[in-house]
Amino acid sequence: MIKDLHNIVGTENVLDDQEALAHYSTDQSLSHPRIPFAVVKPKNSEEVQELVAFANKTLTPVIPVSSGVHFWGATLPEEGGVIVELSRMDKILEIDPQNRRVKIEPGVTWHKLQEALAENDQMPLNPLFPHPKSSALTGSLEGEAMLIPKYEYSDPVLTSQVVLGNGSLIKTGMAAANNTQGVYPEGPGTNFIHFFQGAQGTLGIVTWLNIKTEYRPKEQKAFFAAFNELEDAAEPIYKLQRRHLGNECFILNKFLMASLLREQDGDFEKLMQDLPPYTMVLVIAGAPRRPLERIAYEEEALMEIAGDLRFEPAKTVGGVAGLGTKMIDMLRNLPSTDVYWKNRFKNSTQDIFFITTMDRAQAYADIALSYATCYGLNINEVGVYMQPLERGRACHLSFCLPCDLDNDAERENIRELYLELSDRLISEDAFFSRPYGVWADRVYRRCAIYTAKLKQLKKIFDPNNILNPGKLCH
């Protein structure tokens, strides 16, 4: 079998030594290690197709991997198999400023993408300060929450090229036709890209993806507002979003805010002391034309809403000097170092996240923090992140549990907390739209028909179940 893999990708692109296999058998989640048979590194979609053909012939699972770091167990081989490491496919294939779109391969990181787009006055719609090695393609496909809720869409995905589990290659949306620019996600046929979003590589291996970009502002102002409770921030955000105010808008509790800023400031304890319980970050940005005029009217409207609702947008919180400039710099220049900001406190963060509406966020936060207390955590060391989506019609809510993965007792404690809290949140109707790892069974058992139809779809796209088996409901 190894020889077959050599023939497909070249000897130097097949890894089967213990060290490599160990590296791919774990990630930053609490999942148990799962050892692959080999790791292969294809360079293009033709080699990916050959690998899938090989997988079908030998009934060997293949697990597509594109980021250099993984958090949720989605890339661990549940049933053994070969890791298809897509990092060699790291080209930005096309930047299209006219239609505000970029075409990327799986190995392109958010950092690399942001740098390349900046040269064209564009920016990606990235999630909250992603890990420097995170794949922009995977993040977009998996629906990681965008920081900018002012657009009506909540994901930037357009069209794609996919190697299906049966080895065939398709292009989704208008990319299938040769008399278009290949941008619009729908038709001909049905809306196939929907099936690959959130699929964790179980229905196809995406070998390139077109995503939206937006104008990278040259003028912008960051505002910060302090709140004691999450629910205190909800109403202001509802109002701000209804009036189309601002670009980036998100809420971090003081633990996450301190974790984010400590790289700059280096004084975590002081930040924890001085920062408010919750901070809303709102960036008002100028458009390409008359940028300062747009900032002016938006700022005026912001202050009007703030006056009505009695909150105070300020240039900083917690007395952090130059916070506005720092925040904008961090947003426009994603970190490129290997040190992930969320892992500065301990060597991992276990995130529990789901979609809900902002008016329910406080109730979930209360549950999460009370569970954390029961498990002996200091609630000041639990992260809370609320990301408004689609003008505030919903939100991504995330609870971040720091965990020292090298400490067995702590790991086990956090694992139990993670499971029990997830169960409770699901029972309280938190919508786990991205059912990773242990969430999958919990989510899919609540929606029998959805699960059954997904399984039927799997049989069509991947008849031999060789694509990342064991994930989702497969």
Partner: protein
Amino acid sequence: MDKMERHERHDEILQAFEAAVGVGNVKDSPAVMNAYCGDWLPPKTLGQTKRPEFILMPAGTLEVQRVIKICNRYKIPFVPVGSNQWSMATAPTRPHTVIIDSKRMVDILEIDEKNMYAVIQPYTTMAQLHAEANKRGLYIGSPEASAQSSALAGHTFQGMWGVSYRIGVGARNILGMEWVLPDGEILRTGSLSHTCQSWFWGKGPGPDLKGMLRGYAGALGGVGMVTKMAVKLHPYPGPAEFPAEGYIPNMTSTMPKDRFHWEIIKFDDLEGAATFMYEVGKAEIGGIVHKWPTVYYNWWWANSNEEYWTEWQKRTFQDNLKHAVAVCLWGFTSKKQLEYEKRVLEDIIEDTGGRRIKQDVFDKWVPRAANNWIRDTNGSRMMRPSGTFLCLKLAADTIKSSVDLVKSGYQWVDKFSPPILDSDGPDWIGPYEFCHFGFAETDFPVEKNPEDMADIMNKLLAMTKEDLQHGQENGVGPFLGGPYHAMAGPVFKYDSLLKGIKKAIDPNLVSNPPHNFPIDE
């Protein structure tokens, strides 16, 4: 029209349906069947439709489920029907067809003003939804089919709205759904899959099965019937009640001047108009942007057939509005936003070499027709000049590819005129989602008689086949549904996937065959 042939077990089936939905909600008399043989589009005119055998009016999801299960039991086809205004697929093409008429499912079940969505049933109209949304400082789009059409169906069909410049087409506005599949199972999607109270999110869990419902023109009833749908509503700076002065057909409408402002800017060519639209999108201004063809201006404006053709012969619209782009600025944030956007628009007009149209033409058209693109879109007026209209090319991709497609459409329109009536090079281009996308249509009036319709349809089919041979999508094909997918599937490599999906969820092939894939042919 065909002679109606009854199923050999007609009475037994009738009884089953009466048990499912109630005696008064089932019809099988030939006189009633005649009313459901077609809509305004060609199949009826061309004698391609059949009479259904039963008309059913279920009250909700469970009754729809019962009906569909009965259809599976007897292996008879069903067609789900909304307002039945604008579809090529709601007239039966098979014997013994059951029409599931949604007239009793007419409510807005819920509006969540804070989280901006409404839960609707299949016969809830856009007009109802607009009225309720506007009261709450929210809005939604309206398709060309007009505000009297089904809001739910509009979200599953093409869904090109007057206001899609910001909010996208209907399909991009679907949240949780309750959906009776062709096999009779009830599928709930998005957050609704978890609990029957949570409508707020449309995707997942995991892969989004809503993908089965969509494609450029939707599945045309070939994947069951959606019986409840949550749809996005959007912040609206307009008045609680849509302003209207006078009465139809002389009604005018003027939006508050401190929050809405129309401009119509003319260019020398399509490329100039396209450049302008791209700049407007990049600047993130505007609530409505369209490059309408001159036929549209006359369609929406004229109050009668005579008025249409009289004005057309005067060339009021052809000489003043060719390659013109209409922009309506909306002050979502404040009055100052509107003032800012006016200044930005002025900059763009200057930079792109645009010119305002003559004031008298503006004053003639805007009060009478413009704001219908917010609320009503005047769809039925498109039928007036000749009894119907058709389209040769539709694009759904980018503004640039829309320009290319409509230009390729000009020569086809010329080639087929007559029977295509004078339409001054039809070329509607609508930029969507701040010009990330561009849609186009080459719509034209054509005489509604069987000979001319047959002539055009055959030419359309020939053109589509030729385009497919070159790997090209002309946008018209998807409206033909199943037969088109059978041709296009092998070209674009989705035939086995779509066939597999259809067979999986519709094992007895009862959901409006031959859509969305003709398994039985």
